[in-house]
């Protein structure tokens, strides 16, 4: 059974329920024929992907929804074979080059040129160009991005790119210069509530305003998360009321525990205990930044206001080290130790 996040996904620009101005803008670009390259950015769960699919439909009609998955093999200059999946309709392709790590350049280079040099198969296609959607564009290596530059210009009669990423920071200036930037904000709490109500109605679930409001707020305006939370509540409870608790994901529960533990005791024995939990989270593929951030924001309500800037400072400091270093666990642990120290000093100064 499909999840409601997928089942209720709007399929056209008209069906999108929020950011109407942006939808209008995309519609007018799609209808004008001289569609530019686009770079969609914004936090996860804002609805970037849904909006892109809707834009493609506006460009080509319902044919873009007939997709198939192709497995392709590319060869690197050192003769290594790379397997790579492509999601494609007759009109467009969707790729995630960061899947092949540092070899992303090979894929981008070969695939885009190939697309650019072939004509639209469907002679009656509404657009002369094909669209290539590149996911996680902010994680492309510099080489891969450089390889896009002239391709985006030279082949623009046959090819348009839609780049997607959470932020524009990882994207080199010449590429930003070649795209129209499209910011997709998360929906407001009110808009999330609207979507949740709509989904309840479509599923025949009784709308509980109290619950809808809580889910919307707790989701942090992340619509995907909100829909998953809502479905979780209805799936796990026979009877849903305004105050039915919303179960947090397992990993979040575990981080909550860590937060409690490091508040309670500031010893190296405790750090050792926490370490095994951190490992646990990492082996379950929770991204280290998510762990550190979640932990930080769970600690905030537990400490005195005076301490908060200091704790944020170190959290940001160690997060940066996670990104530039190699041993994630060192930096997570260092943050825990630092936090204990800050708290300890503070408590001592209070005693005096």
């Amino acid at each position: 059974m499909a999840l409601i996040v997928d089942k209720h996904r709007p399929r056209s620009l008209d069906a999108l329920t929020y950011h109407d101005e942006l939808s209008d803008r995309l519609r007018s670009l799609a209808q004008s024929g001289d569609f530019p390259h686009l770079l969609f950015y914004g936090p996860s769960g804002a609805g970037k992907k849904t909006r892109i699919v809707a834009t493609l439909k506006e460009l080509y009609g319902p044919g873009v929804e007939k997709i198939k998955i192709d497995a392709r093999v590319f060869q690197t200059s050192s003769n290594r074979k790379l397997e790579f999946n492509i999601v494609a309709s007759v009109y467009h392709l969707e790729i995630t080059p960061s899947d092949v790590g540092n070899y992303d350049r090979v894929v981008v280079q070969d695939l885009l040129k190939e697309v650019a040099q072939t004509q639209q198969v469907d002679q009656s296609a509404r657009q002369r160009f094909k669209v290539v959607v590149i996911n996680e564009a902010d994680h492309l290596t510099r080489d891969a991005q450089a390889a896009l530059r002239r391709t985006m210009e030279k082949y623009s009669p046959n090819l348009r790119l839609i780049l997607v990423g959470e932020s524009t920071a990882g994207i080199i200036a010449p590429i930003r210069s070649r795209c129209l930037l499209v910011r997709v904000a998360r929906p407001t709490v009110g808009e999330v509530e609207g979507v949740l109500r709509g989904s309840c109605e479509r599923e025949g679930w009784e709308v509980r305003e109290g619950l809808v409001g809580r889910v919307a707020r707790e989701s942090g305006r992340n619509l995907r998360r909100a829909l998953l939370m809502l479905e979780g509540v209805y799936a796990q409870n026979e009877k849903v009321t305004d105050d039915t608790p919303i179960p947090p994901p397992d990993w979040e529960g575990l981080i909550e525990q860590i937060a409690q533990e490091i508040m309670a005791e500031h010893t190296s024995a405790r750090i050792l205990q926490v370490r095994s939990k951190l490992y646990d989270l990492l082996t379950h593929c929770i991204p280290p930044t998510t762990i550190l951030k979640t932990l930080t924001f769970k600690l905030m309500p537990l400490i005195d206001d005076d301490l908060k800037p200091e704790v944020i400072k170190w959290s940001a400091f160690y997060e940066h080290r996670i990104k530039t270093g190699t041993k994630v666990i060192f930096h997570l642990e260092a943050f825990v130790a630092k936090f204990m120290r800050i708290l300890e000093m503070y408590l001592m100064s209070m005693d005096m």
Binding site: R25, S28, S32, G33, D34, F35, P36, H37, Y41, P43, Q109, L112, A116, Q119, Q123, R128, R142, D143, A146, A147, L148, R149, R150, E153, K154, Y155, S156, P157, S167, T168, A169, G170, A173, P174, R176, S177, R178, C179, L180, L181, R183, V184, A185, R186, G220, R221, L292, K293, M300, D305, K308, P309, I312, K313, S315, A316, E319, H320, K323, T324
Partner: protein, 385 residues
């Protein structure tokens, strides 16, 4: 034979030369529908705006029909690629472009051996010529070939050093033109063999003229100050400014009709609406002033309790709204540095924080934590901590 040349000439004349015979016939009207940046790519040297010095020098070499090796450098969207392509076209004309000019860019495989081989093969080919005297009168067709290495900053040092020899070996019959954003990425021995041309960020005056021309051809109405807005938001990058203009035009309802060309005669739904500064800023992702001011206000010292909660709230909203951290940092910097109520000593401390955060963001640090840290630290400095 004549028809062969004819076809070739037609093909080359089409922008970018990527259109094929079939499509040319079948949807000839559609071939012109392309993003404005391509539609308005300068076709001749004199079309290139704002790089007067470079263009004057190049035009002189055009007359003398001799060329040094060249190195073009400068920020994105300032006309480097356009200039070399226009120069090549003026030197050789459409027929000889293919056989006399080799363009290698970052999308081509450019390892040492490949560069060497491709360049060698190309350089060794006999110089082609045309017999038509009329053609020769129109195009100088000097007796050398041009090898363009565009986006050369992405070539490895090794590949670059391998070029040194090649450049010398074939210097009688080839000229190189290297193009890059950062001149420091080109190794010295290569750079010193070239005449350097710096492409400047476009300034208000020149970029303005070009944008107004395009707006007129596309029949886009512009409000007072809209062009200045475009240029400011694009930070001297004309390509960006043109893309913003196109998007803004679509937004106010100028819809291109099929068959539109660059002759300006095509119809456009000339709606009464015009492009305003606000629309431009919106498209460019500029954060509204109110939003920045709310954050600044939250950062100011208060008598009651700490600033953490209000700051955290503002930052959380900004992150959820997807504003790029780079943009936040830039605009916050402007707001703080030009704020006369903040003492110089405090400003000095604040600058250090900006420097640190900028570096972190470039390293890929989390945007939410970085911005929150920045705001809290500035707030601390303002509060005398």
């Amino acid at each position: 034979m004549a028809s062969f040349f004819d076809l070739k000439a037609r093909k080359a004349a089409l922008a970018n030369g990527a259109a094929t015979k079939e499509t040319e016939k079948k949807d000839g009207e559609n071939t012109r529908v392309q993003p404005w940046v391509e539609k308005y790519r300068p076709k001749t040297l004199s079309d290139v705006t704002a790089q007067d010095h470079t263009i004057t020098v190049l035009q002189r070499t055009l007359q003398a029909s001799n060329l040094p090796h060249m190195l073009f450098y400068g920020p994105p969207g300032t006309g480097k690629t356009s200039t070399i392509l226009a120069l090549a076209k003026e030197l050789y004309g459409p027929e000889l472009m293919k056989s006399r000019v080799l363009e290698l860019n970052a999308s081509d495989e450019r390892g040492i051996s490949i560069v060497r081989e491709k360049v060698k093969d190309f350089a060794r080919m006999q110089l082609t010529n045309v017999s038509s005297a009329a053609y020769k009168a129109r195009y100088p067709c000097p007796p050398f070939k041009i090898i363009i290495l565009d986006e050369a900053d992405s070539m490895t040092q090794d590949a670059q050093s391998a070029l040194r020899r090649t450049m010398e070996t074939y210097s009688k019959i080839t000229r190189f033109c290297l193009i890059c954003n950062y001149v420091t990425r080109i190794i010295d021995p290569l750079a010193s063999r070239c005449s350097k041309f710096r492409f400047k960020s476009l300034d208000q005056g020149n970029a303005k003229k070009r944008l107004e021309e395009i707006a007129e051809k596309e029949k886009v109405g512009l409000d007072e100050g809209a062009v200045e807005g475009l240029i400011n938001c694009a930070e001297g990058d004309l390509r960006k400014a043109i893309t913003y203009l196109q998007s803004a035009a679509r937004l106010v309802g100028a819809v291109q009709q099929p068959g539109g060309g660059d002759d300006g005669e095509d119809g456009m739904d000339v709606d009464k609406k015009t492009v305003s500064v606000k629309i431009v800023q919106d498209i460019a992702g500029v954060i509204p002033d109110e939003t920045i001011q709310r954050l600044v206000k939250a950062m100011r010292p208060t008598t009651l309790g700490g600033n953490y909660t209000p700051i955290a709230k503002e930052v959380e909203d900004m992150v959820a709204d997807g504003w790029s951290a780079g943009q936040v940092v830039t605009q916050l910097y402007q707001a703080v540095v030009y704020d006369e109520t903040i003492e110089d000593a405090q400003k000095n401390k604040i600058l250090l924080v900006f420097s640190e955060i900028d570096k972190r963001l470039v390293d890929g640090a989390d945007e939410h934590l970085s911005i929150l840290d920045l705001a809290l630290r500035i707030s601390g400095i303002l509060g005398g901590r």
